[in-house]
């Protein structure tokens, strides 16, 4: 196998990891948009909080399992607080009002993190309990394997939750019509909060994985994902979880291959939006959305 081929395969594997991380973050956003029709920009700051909580718990206890659990719990609480204190009271207003509130929440959380933990980049040196794999000269680090395995596990869990359980049925009913779902005896506010719990806990996992993957955690690490994931839920079809995951994987691959491998002189962070506008022109309901 030529060195060029090997580089290409490694870039594809990296792109898939990138896409998996985008998918983990976008999942929560798509879930929240599904039940509440709110663009939850502050989701990216929940993910930053997850990364910080992970670093601090890992540094004090030395246990990666505790770091994941503690960080997921903290983010779940934070997500529900944002929903109860900020979004729910603003539901009756036009959609830009919760959107701006969400941006204000994101700014606030970023600043609190900067003041508490300092503006410097923290390192997150941890070895995830997965094996390193060597396949015919192609090296897969344990972090890459962990990202693939955890993403697949999360996707399977969500698929099982939304299609096989009563809670999932209630979530789907709430996302179709909150008022009618309420009339059928579903406590829709509870379901909305539960969605925030699930989405935020998944964001915490994403935060820790990104922290370990890049070995850095800093207050504004959520800034670029915050807006990129918005483009992703449009490309995937608003509120469609499978669509968002596919869009995220494609973006991760496209970014890595076009810019990292082919060296196309194009701003990496604008690619998601160019793709989004292309999709909107071609198919305005998104990849998997319904009109």
């Amino acid at each position: 196998m030529g060195a060029n081929m090997q580089l290409l395969i490694e870039q594809i594997l990296n792109g898939l990891a990138m896409g998996s991380i985008y998918a983990i973050i976008t999942l929560g956003l798509a879930l929240v948009y599904g039940v509440m029709r709110i663009l939850h920009v502050a989701h990216a700051s929940v993910y930053t909080v997850g990364a910080y909580a992970g670093v601090f718990i890992f540094q004090t206890t030395g246990s990666l399992a505790l770091a994941f659990l503690g960080s997921m719990l903290l983010c779940a609480i934070l997500g529900v607080l944002i929903e109860r204190l900020v979004y729910f009271p603003l539901l009756k207003h036009p959609p830009y009002v919760p959107l701006i509130a969400s941006i204000a929440v994101m700014l606030t959380i970023e600043e609190v993190l900067r003041l508490l933990a300092g503006p410097q980049i923290l390192t997150f040196t941890a070895k995830l309990p997965f094996p390193d794999v060597n396949l015919g000269g192609i090296h897969l680090s344990s972090t890459l394997i962990a990202i693939y395995v955890i993403t697949i596990a999360i996707l399977l869990f969500l698929w099982w939750l939304t299609t096989k359980t009563e809670i999932g049925l209630a979530m789907r009913a709430t996302s179709q019509d909150m008022a009618i779902a309420g009339a059928q005896g579903i406590n829709s506010h509870y379901i909305v909060s539960l969605t925030f719990v699930i989405g935020s806990a998944i964001a915490a996992i994403g935060g820790i994985l990104v922290g370990i993957y890049y070995n850095q955690v800093y207050p504004t690490m959520g800034a670029v994902p915050a807006y990129k994931t918005l483009a992703l839920i449009v490309v995937g079809g608003m509120g469609s979880v499978p669509g968002a995951v596919i869009a995220a994987l494609l973006l991760g691959l496209a970014e890595t291959l076009l810019i990292g491998y082919l060296n196309v002189p194009f701003p990496r962070d604008a690619l998601a939006f160019v793709a989004m506008i292309g999709v909107l022109v071609w198919r305005s309901e998104g990849l998997m959305g319904s009109k």
């Binding site: 948009y33 700014l107 807006y227 909107l280």
Partner: protein
């Protein structure tokens, strides 16, 4: 006035002009735009290129700048015909990122170095600086505010209000959504272009980072805090949010936190803005001035 106060006021007045333009799009026509900094930037870059490369003066370049911004507003207003609310919001975010990336990556726009050496505006043969530049900005703001007032009194303005309230009802009455939405976009981006042109000649240097997405948020926040769709709301919003970071300067490291918290509390408890419908000021203070109304 000290130089410090003049500097802060000049920036606030330029921002107030841009927010007035945003108000036409968002407040009057009801089309959410989260990419207004892009049009501000297009105005600033056009002014910068026309004065440094083509050798025009501020005054001869201004009509061209406005024309360029109107055409860009027309083109980028097209998505608003097909997309509603959330889709439009995200698309305008995308426009902001793409326009900023173009400024940064296309060598014609100066790349990462930006464009420097923009001349001062001269008036009556004298270059304007300090307080005199502030007076020019204030005059422009007055012109823009009167234009906006006139717009609300014209058929076009009323048509925009009707489209904002209920698009299908308005179009069944024969009001063309295409024509009036695009008109609002053009007017709004032209005003942003005027602000951008003033900004370019004030800073005398532009670079892509000056027109990033957070600035669009700041513009929209000013509009929301002041009161969307009101005449004075944009100016009051720009004044409050423009002055807050300066007022909080003694808080040093905590000032951005307080800024964010105040924005959050404002939008959470007064989502209509300070002057908007159902705001405290409308309910408590204005009835006393207006007499018997509730």
């Amino acid at each position: 006035m000290s130089g410090y106060v003049i500097t802060i006021l000049t920036q606030i007045v330029i921002q107030a002009i841009v927010v007035c333009g945003l108000n036409v799009i968002v407040g009057y026509a009801g089309q959410i735009s989260l990419g207004h900094a892009a049009f501000f930037g297009i105005g600033a870059y056009s002014a910068a290129l026309l004065t440094t490369q083509a050798g025009l003066s501020f005054w001869t370049a201004l009509p061209l700048v406005l024309l360029i911004c109107a055409v860009c507003g027309l083109l980028l207003g097209l998505p608003s015909l097909r997309l509603k609310e959330d889709f439009l919001a995200i698309t305008t975010i995308g426009i902001n990122f793409i326009v900023q990336a173009m400024f940064l990556y296309v060598p014609f726009f100066g790349g990462a170095l930006g464009i420097s050496g923009i001349p001062r505006i001269s008036m009556f043969g004298e270059p304007l600086r300090g307080a005199h530049f502030l007076y020019l900005c204030l005059a422009c703001l007055a012109v823009v505010a009167s234009l906006c007032w006139l717009f609300t009194r014209m058929f076009a303005g009323l048509a925009c209000f009707a489209l904002r309230e209920e698009e299908s009802a308005a179009s069944s009455m024969g009001i063309s959504p295409v024509r009036f939405k695009l008109l609002a976009f053009m007017l709004g981006t032209m005003i942003a272009g005027l602000g951008g042109s003033l900004y370019a000649h004030y800073m005398r240097f532009v670079s892509a980072d000056d027109f990033s997405f957070p600035l669009s948020i700041a513009f929209l926040a000013m509009l929301v805090v002041g009161g969307m769709g009101t005449l004075l709301g944009p100016i009051i919003g720009a004044l409050i949010l423009g002055a807050l970071p300066e007022v909080f300067r003694p808080l040093a490291d905590f000032r951005i936190l307080f800024y964010a918290l105040i924005l959050l509390l404002m939008i959470r408890f007064q989502p209509g803005g300070i002057l908007g419908e159902s705001s405290l000021i409308r309910k408590r203070l204005l009835p006393q001035f207006l007499g018997g109304q509730k």
